[in-house]
């Protein structure tokens, strides 16, 4: 258990590092995919195989693929990863500062140490998630569906409209 978790964590960090450091965007996307998979694994470890599945299906199967397509459509094999060192350094400083700051907050928060409590079996089932999704949280569910619908329409409108404008 502990070993698998540690491995997944390491994989996640490694994928993240690849994703942010590789110059070729396509490669970076694969790094991202690695992280996403690792996180999915962590979700399973944390007791929610359903969410883990969703993560894999939507993120790895959908989003990553969409990004790859986008890269290919924009034929971006942009050689020039011409970010200046200054820019990287500045970003690194800010990010590091953020990490240190928040890390200290976490350290100072006095979180309960020790392993997770026992799983209450039926609370973590898919059935339970489905029930509360359509029960207590159905507004969230509905809102999400509307958001997705709008996103789809928006994506179509944005790409189509501008395209036509260019042609005319």
């Amino acid at each position: 258990m502990g070993g698998i978790t540690g491995l997944l964590m390491a994989l996640a960090v490694a994928g993240g590092l690849l994703a942010v450091s590789l110059k070729n965007v396509l490669h970076a996307i694969f790094g991202l995919a690695l992280t996403l998979l690792a996180v999915a694994g962590l979700f399973a470890v944390l007791g929610s195989p359903f969410v883990a599945t969703m993560q894999v299906l939507i993120y790895v199967g959908g989003i990553t693929v969409a990004m790859v397509f986008a890269v290919m459509l924009s034929t971006v094999v942009q050689k020039h990863a011409t970010e200046s060192p200054w820019r990287r350094a500045g970003a690194a400083v800010v990010a590091l500062g953020f990490a240190v700051g928040v890390g200290m907050v976490i350290a100072a928060a006095g979180l309960p140490d020790g392993p997770a409590p026992e799983l209450v079996a039926d609370a973590w089932t898919v059935r339970q998630i489905g029930t509360s999704l359509l029960g207590d949280y159905n507004v969230v569910f509905e809102v999400l569906s509307v958001v997705l619908l709008l996103a789809i329409i928006g994506a179509i409108v944005i790409s189509r409209h501008e395209g036509e404008e260019k042609q005319s």
């Binding site: 500045g90 800010v94 990010a95 953020f98 700051g101 928040v102 200290m104 350290a107």
Partner: protein
């Protein structure tokens, strides 16, 4: 007819005439004129009837108008000696002028409007004269001023007329402000504005309860400011000569006989109050005497007939105020009455000459043959003799009463001043008469405005037989009779009785009359030497001293002085305020706005629009906040 009905008819007829004529018949001149004359006739009959049939005690004909807080206002008429006399004078003169205007304004394009405005004036003036309380008085006092403004500026296409109208309104308003404040303070002190009550409060011997002598002086002084403005007393006198820009009937009616007398009438109306202000009365006497002399000097050199008469009006108003301030109600009002008659007459004759010859210049009128207009010239004689104070004529008697009233210990200096003014009056009056009727070949008189010049009051001459139209001759004739007989002791006694001051109508001994008569005759004689005698040079005494003549022609440079000081100061102050507004307030507002804009623009510059920098900034701030939260 009951007195109440008569009073109502007298008061309302001109208003109705005004409204109907202005709204309905502004363009239908003859109908408008007929309506105005009808209204004037009703008022004439009413006011004369009321005068001839006075009730033994003062009557009040009022209707409650409204109540504002502690202010209960009644509208109506107070019928006592003073109002009856004033009302009758107004009614009579207005009616004469209405008839006269038929001739004078015959072809004027604004004839309908003119008659309507005369209706407005008569209504205001009568309502002022009969006012039972000071507030009604003040309202109509203001409306009289408005009517005066409209009538002076009647020929509104002439910039000079417009300027004169404006000047008249502003200068009288300066006085009105004093009167307004006085009115309010008076109300605060005695809690009434009812004229009879105020009269009885101040009429009692000694000062009214709760009022210090200083307070009474202050009240009287404020009210007297109004008198000074309306009755053109120094230093607020300069508007009156300019007001001659109005049509001559207007000058005759408003600016000699009635409206300017409103100030004097106010003085008479509150005579009891003024008499309690002893200190002020001395000052008032000084002002009146000074005004009388000052304006007489200016009349001695003027060539414009209407201006001469205007100066003499100022001077005669000074005489009236002298009489009142010296304590004789009768003297002031009697002179007001006779003056109204003979001054209106003189203006009408002036108008007849102007109408005929198309010039205001007496030298030009004389050379063009002024004396050939016989009725007019007779009117000039009657009015002129009355003005100069030639014995038997109206002005002689009334001036005599004033001089008699001044004949007190302590007033000697003023008496001397009055004699000087009387002397000059005789001189300039006869100068005018001689120049008009006795032009001679040897004359050195300078024509300032040739006959028929387009600058004349009227803009053009009327050719034809040398006589004024009938509607002009009729009132001249009528008033000539008045100017001759109105001063006779019989009338004086009647007026004094009406005013309830029979003791003031003192009949001078023959011996007392010698001095005034001698002074008048001296003035006439000097005028004869200068202007009347054959081969007289007709340049006058003053012409020997050219600087003096220049000064007098420029009216002692008082107008120039005002222009340089008061007006310039006002303008400068307005300019200062304007600068403060545009540069100060607006500038400050704009500066704040621009400053904000600049800050905004500056801040906006830091928005490079670069996403990484946005995010970086946000996160950096977040990091700093987290750090500080974590550390502290």
């Amino acid at each position: 007819m009951s007195h109440a009905n008569l009073a109502v008819a007298t008061l309302l007829a001109p208003l109705i005439a005004f409204a109907v004529a202005l709204i309905g018949f502004r363009k239908k001149h003859d109908i408008a004129a007929a309506i105005a004359i009808l209204g004037g006739f009703v008022s004439l009959v009413g006011s004369i009837w009321l005068l001839l049939d006075p009730a033994p005690t003062a009557e009040l004909v009022t209707a409650p108008w409204f109540q504002v807080g502690g202010f209960k206002l009644e509208f109506g008429a107070l019928l006592d000696g003073r109002t009856l006399l004033m009302g009758a004078v107004v009614g009579l003169i207005t009616f004469c002028i209405l008839i006269y205007s038929l001739g004078y304004m015959k072809d004027d394009p604004g004839k309908g409007r003119f008659f309507a405005f005369l209706g407005l004036f008569e209504w205001s003036m009568l309502s002022f004269a009969y006012a039972p309380n000071l507030l009604q008085g003040f309202i109509f006092w203001e409306l009289v001023g408005l009517a005066s403004f409209l009538l002076i500026g009647f020929w509104y296409h002439k910039p000079s007329a417009v300027a004169a109208a404006k000047k008249a309104f502003i200068m009288t308003r300066i006085g009105d402000v004093g009167m307004f404040v006085g009115l309010i303070l008076l109300f605060g002190d005695v809690h009434t504005l009812d004229i009879l009550e105020i009269g009885s409060i101040f009429g009692a011997p000694g000062l009214p309860e709760g009022l210090s002598a200083g307070r009474v002086e202050l009240l009287a002084g404020l009210l007297f400011l109004g008198v000074m403005g309306k009755s053109a007393q120094f230093p607020l006198h300069t508007w009156l000569p300019d007001a001659m820009e109005g049509p001559t009937p207007v000058s005759a009616l408003l600016h000699s006989a009635t409206m300017v007398a409103a100030g004097v009438f106010l003085f008479a109306r509150f005579h009891e109050l003024f008499m309690d202000a002893h200190g002020l009365m001395t000052l008032v006497l000084a002002i009146a005497v000074f005004t009388a002399i000052l304006s007489s000097t200016m009349a001695m050199v003027a060539n414009d007939m209407k201006k001469i008469l205007a100066f003499s009006s100022i001077s005669q108003l000074g005489f009236m105020i002298m009489g009142l301030a010296a304590g004789s109600l009768f003297a002031g009002l009697f002179h007001l009455m006779t003056h109204a008659l003979f001054k209106a007459l003189l203006f009408m004759t002036a108008g007849a000459y102007i109408h005929h010859y198309g010039t205001n210049d007496i030298v030009a009128i004389g050379r063009a043959g002024g004396r050939k207009m016989r009725v007019t010239t007779l009117g000039l004689f009657a009015g002129g003799f009355a003005l100069a104070g030639v014995p038997i004529f109206a002005g002689f008697w009334s001036k005599e009463v004033i001089l008699g009233a001044l004949h007190h210990d302590g007033y000697m200096v003023f008496l001397v001043g009055a004699y000087i003014a009387a002397f000059m009056t005789a001189y300039y009056t006869f100068r005018m008469i001689f120049l008009v009727v006795l032009p001679n070949a040897n004359s050195d008189a300078i024509v300032e405005e040739p006959a028929g010049a387009q600058h004349g009051d009227h803009g053009h001459a009327h050719h034809g037989p040398d006589k004024a139209p009938l509607p002009m001759r009729l009132p001249i004739g009528l008033l000539s009779i008045g100017a001759v007989i109105a001063g006779l002791p019989f009338f004086g006694d009647a007026v004094a009785g009406l005013l309830g001051r029979p003791e003031e109508a003192h009949h001078a001994e023959i011996s007392e009359m010698i001095l005034p008569v001698a002074i008048v005759l001296a003035g006439v004689a000097l005028a004869w030497l200068d202007f009347g005698a054959k081969r007289a040079p007709q340049r006058g005494l003053v012409a020997w001293f050219p600087p003096l003549e220049r000064t007098l022609k420029n009216r002692w440079y008082i107008d120039a002085f005002y222009r340089r000081t008061v007006i310039r100061l006002t303008n400068a102050f307005a300019g200062l305020m304007y600068g403060a507004e545009t540069r100060g307030f607006d500038g400050a507002g704009d500066a704040i706005a621009h400053g904000t804009m600049k800050v905004g623009v500056g801040t906006a510059k830091s928005h490079t629009g670069r996403l990484p920098i946005f995010i970086g900034t946000a996160v950096a701030i977040l990091a700093i906040v987290s750090l500080s939260v974590a550390l502290f």
